[in-house]
């Protein structure tokens, strides 16, 4: 079929049924500009049509939630008039096509979601996943993504404070780039997106509009790749962090002066989304003069202008009396602005060009009437066979050899090749910097602290989506508890394969259930999230990769928060929490030593989770070192402390397997004395001393040798 024969709606990524949905809604055939708007707004990336009905399982109700899911970012109350805004977003497909710009514009987008709420963005975290680094293409992608995040984040002036990286074969053609951002604001600075006030003016601020990303939302994020997808390439957007920095400052000044009624950032589906959502959220309509939009490229059609995903743009709703001042502030910050429309009683969104009506649709319908699919789900065929491939772990191990192999893994070794490319110090808030379990930020002038961790575990989720996702939540909670914070709010990024594959839907539904259950067990509200589907190339879906972004809160912060570099000669080592139970499915040992992915991850006890998390957060006020035991088990966790503290350790005799067991809900505590004051199960297992990592009968390795392996793991592969 040639392009002339393929119907327009099919070319724009819509199905016949969806097209019928539009004609039913409008009571007629859509005009070209209207079809353009529906095609982007009803795409998977914008409408969440395959996942929406399942997302209702998440619980977002707690007294400290100020804004839950549905706005541009979740907002929670930190007391004394302080609020925090948080959000996580994916930019997966664009990062495969052009890694630097894909990742850069991902950072730009998530920052806009934060400052559109009235908050100054103060931190970014990146959770990134690639195929194995033996493949040049994957090295190229890692290099590009990191340089994109660094290039944008550093230049826009927001510190990147942490993240995580995973390598697995199924991400080779579908890298995942998830970016989380956090902002803080005073209560009276909160701004929402609902347009109100008939006659109020819509002002477009920021970059001129060009053909960037035309069809990006609908084409890139909502479709799987085939080899040689050349025609999808021109859709990649280029980021301008300088423009974004000016936009942040201009917007914060507008908020400070109370000049905006509402504001929305422009992301996927550009002007279509911003105009319809601000109007729809406010139960109003809007009249838009598309010719007023400031353009970079002449000769764009109204449909193209409506679909454009040019970066660094915001839509502000302003009272007529304030328009001049808004334009003046924009001009002072050297930002372009155009007055493109006005709020009407509604319910239509009407778009005019050259005096002609080119689109007239019910404003709310673009978002609210998007299809909601209840796609079939089916327990995957691979599960039983995978569970049958039990990890074989010998009773006697050469701990030095195994540890050496694990430390040489680029996802376990030193990640400072990545983190040192990011400015992590700007704003002077960083109390615990990249390289520890989580980040800890202070709020100057208060005793309050915010902790953040991003966590994912795609292999474990593949073997058991429900248990895997629940365990990610508990691990993330521990990663903030070890620095003294109580888990306070969560955002999730659900990265899955093709939802038209019932096995993928099953994974998604199970993962949502596991995550929702775990959050309820520890009273953590889910205040927002992002779903990225169609992560599939040539018929192969990615491993299911739900990513958690956890915000922890403490007030007051510990005087001396635990850090991995505070172990001193003679200090005792305890392990608190669960007894090791032989939990090796999806463990680093099984993956690296046995090259196996099999077995079933053990279940987790919600009650034990609550107790261990609470005990850990309490211990953070006295212990010099606390460290969550996760990938690689006890041995890797102890080694990490050893490297940062410059000190070896001697362990009591332990079953060898316990050294690499990945049973969850286990924390290492290091401190002076011989007894630990805590109510959860705990056991003293050794002492930090000397320059050898001594695993008793299981063997030993010198601190220097082990640290050399760990330091080189990632850089050596990136030359």
């Amino acid at each position: 079929m040639t392009d002339q024969e393929t119907p327009a709606h099919i070319q724009l990524g819509m199905t016949d049924e969806e097209y019928t949905g539009v004609t039913d809604l409008l009571g007629r055939e859509p005009r070209p500009a209207e079809l353009a708007m529906y095609s982007v707004m009803w795409s998977e990336h914008c409408s969440y049509k395959s996942s929406r009905i399942h997302l209702g399982r998440f619980n977002s109700h707690q007294p400290w939630v100020v804004v839950g899911p549905g706005e541009n970012a979740g907002v929670v109350d930190l007391g004394d008039g302080w609020l925090a805004a948080l959000r996580i977003e994916s930019h997966n497909h664009p990062s495969f096509v052009e890694p630097h710009q894909g990742a850069a514009t991902g950072v730009g987008g998530i920052l806009r979601d934060i400052f559109t709420m009235g908050a100054r963005p103060i931190g970014v975290w990146d959770a990134i996943r690639f195929g194995p680094l033996e493949d040049t293409r994957n090295r190229y992608l890692l290099e590009g993504v990191v340089s994109g995040i660094a290039g944008y984040g550093n230049a826009v002036g927001v510190p990147t404070l942490g993240g995580e990286v995973e390598f697995a074969d199924r991400f080779s053609k579908n890298p995942l780039v998830n970016v989380m951002a956090l902002g803080i604001l005073r209560q009276d600075q909160l701004v929402l997106s609902a347009a109100s006030g008939e006659g109020n003016i819509a002002i477009l601020l920021g970059n001129a509009t060009g053909k960037d990303g035309i069809g990006g939302a609908s084409i890139l994020a909502s479709a799987s790749f085939e080899e040689g997808d050349e025609e999808k390439r021109p859709s990649v957007q280029v980021g301008d962090p300088f423009e974004e920095k000016k936009l942040i400052e201009a917007c914060l000044e507008l908020y400070d002066k109370g000049l905006v009624v509402a504001i929305q950032d422009l992301g996927a589906a550009g002007i279509s989304c911003a105009t319809s959502e601000t109007a729809g959220n406010g139960g109003m309509g809007m009249d838009v003069n598309i010719d007023a939009v400031h353009l970079r490229e002449p000769g764009m059609t109204p449909g193209e202008i409506l679909m454009s995903e040019s970066q660094e743009r915001m839509l502000a709703i302003v009272q007529p009396d304030n328009v001049d001042e808004v334009l003046s502030i924009a001009s002072q910050w050297e930002i372009d602005a155009s007055t493109i429309g006005s709020v009407t009683r509604g319910p239509e969104l009407r778009v005019y060009s050259q005096g002609t009506l080119v689109a007239e649709v019910p404003a709310a319908s673009l978002a609210d009437d998007a299809p909601k699919y209840d796609r079939p789900s089916r327990r995957p065929g691979y599960l039983d066979e995978a569970w049958g491939r039990e990890p074989q772990i010998p009773e006697h191990l050469d701990a030095a050899y195994v540890l050496g192999r694990l430390l040489d893994d680029p996802a376990i070794g030193d990640r400072s090749w990545i983190s040192s490319q990011y400015d992590h110090m700007l704003f002077l808030n960083t109390v615990v910097e990249p390289g520890h379990d989580g980040s800890l930020l202070r709020i100057k002038g208060t005793e309050k602290g915010m902790a953040v961790s991003t966590d994912g575990d795609s292999l474990r989720t593949y073997l058991d989506p429900r248990r895997g996702a629940a365990r990610i939540v508990f691990e993330s909670a521990l990663n903030v508890a070890v620095i003294g914070a109580r888990p306070y709010a969560l955002v999730d990024n659900l990265n899955f394969g093709n939802p038209e594959n019932p096995e993928v839907m099953w994974q998604l539904i199970e993962a949502i259930e596991g995550m929702a259950w775990a959050c309820e067990e520890i009273d953590v509200p889910v205040v927002g999230g992002n779903v990225s589907l169609y992560n599939q190339t040539d018929g192969t879906d990615i491993y299911p990769a739900p990513v958690v972004g956890m915000l922890g809160f403490c007030d007051p912060m510990p005087d001396q928060p635990p850090r991995l570099d505070r172990a001193e000669d003679g200090m005792s080592i305890w392990v608190i929490g669960q007894e090791p139970k032989g939990d090796f499915a999806a463990s680093a040992y099984d993956r690296i030593i046995n090259a196996n992915l099999g077995g079933r991850p053990l279940d987790v006890d919600g009650d034990m989770a609550r107790r261990v998390i609470a005990a850990t957060a309490t211990l953070a006020y006295e212990m010099p070192v606390l460290h969550d035991i996760s990938t690689g088990g006890l041995a890797v966790a102890l080694a990490e402390i050893a490297f940062k503290s410059g000190l070896g350790f001697t362990l009591d005799e332990l079953p060898h397997r316990d050294l690499f067991d990945e049973t969850p809900l286990r924390v290492i505590a290091v401190g002076p004395g011989h007894s630990l004051d805590t109510l959860v199960p705990h056991k003293r297992i050794g002492t930090f001393t000397g320059d050898v990592l001594d695993f008793s009968a299981a063997g030993s390795i010198s601190l220097d040798d082990a640290r050399t392996i760990w330091s080189n793991a990632l850089p050596a592969r990136m030359h």
């Binding site: 550093n154 002036g157 300088f242 920095k245 050297e334 400072s416 040192s420 400015d423 700007l426 002077l428």
Partner: protein, 230 residues
């Protein structure tokens, strides 16, 4: 009288710099690059960031901002002027200090603590330090590689005030993070009132953030301010 902290579009360390100046008793005022009035200022700091996105060349567009004429005049009268990171780059592009900053040797952005050795106390940046003193200060830049090719500043020869060194104070290849000529991290003009450095001393003024070694540099600046005005 206040310390003028110049803000260009894209500057992002002005708040941190103001915080540090306040800590040593200086009253700071943020001045927008399009202003032309520095009459209330007894000292000037050009903070870090990405003025004009670092587009074209870092500092190349900022040097033509209206405020820079005033900065240059004040510098000529002996007023203390300090350029930190991007600020240093702007002073070099403007010819107020000699040399240029180009891309780090391994073409990667570097954000990490580095150790610096004080080479001279004859500057507003190092007056309160001692020669040979080793300071741990964070570096945070992509174009931190200092090169000098006999390009003197408008005011004669510059002097080196800070060099990258290892924790013992030795100048080794490994201790030079970005390939800077002669491991130069900071310089001053011959008069000593204009200084520039790539690392960020404002990020090392409180122990909770990892190091307080930046304090002595800000204290030098504060002492220079009062000694000029009294």
């Amino acid at each position: 009288m206040t310390t003028a902290v110049i803000v260009f579009p894209g500057t992002n360390c002005e708040q941190d710099t103001e915080y540090a100046l306040n800590m040593v008793g200086l009253d700071a005022e943020l001045v927008w690059h399009r202003d032309t009035d520095l009459s209330g200022a007894d000292s000037v700091v050009l903070p870090g960031g990405f003025a004009h996105g670092d587009y074209l060349r870092t500092g190349a567009i900022a040097r033509f901002s209206p405020i820079m004429k005033e900065v240059e005049s004040l510098a000529a009268t002996g007023v203390p002027v300090l350029g930190i990171c991007n600020g240093f780059q702007i002073l070099c592009e403007a010819g107020i200090l000699g040399g240029a900053l180009v891309a780090n040797q391994d073409l990667k952005f570097i954000c990490k603590p580095v150790t610096l050795r004080v080479e001279s106390t004859d500057s507003v940046l190092t007056a309160a330090a001692t020669v040979g003193q080793v300071l741990q200060i964070p570096l945070n830049s992509y174009e931190g590689n200092y090169i000098t090719q006999d390009s003197p500043s408008h005011n004669g020869d510059d002097r080196v005030v800070l060099r990258y060194c290892d924790t013992d104070g030795s100048l080794t290849a490994a201790a030079n993070p970005n390939g800077s000529t002669q491991a130069i991290a900071g310089i001053a003009n011959s008069r000593g009132n204009v200084a520039g450095l790539m690392p960020h001393p404002e990020r090392a003024i409180e122990s909770i953030l990892g190091s307080e070694d930046g304090r002595v540099l800000f204290e030098s600046f504060a002492a220079s301010v009062s000694s000029v005005t009294t």
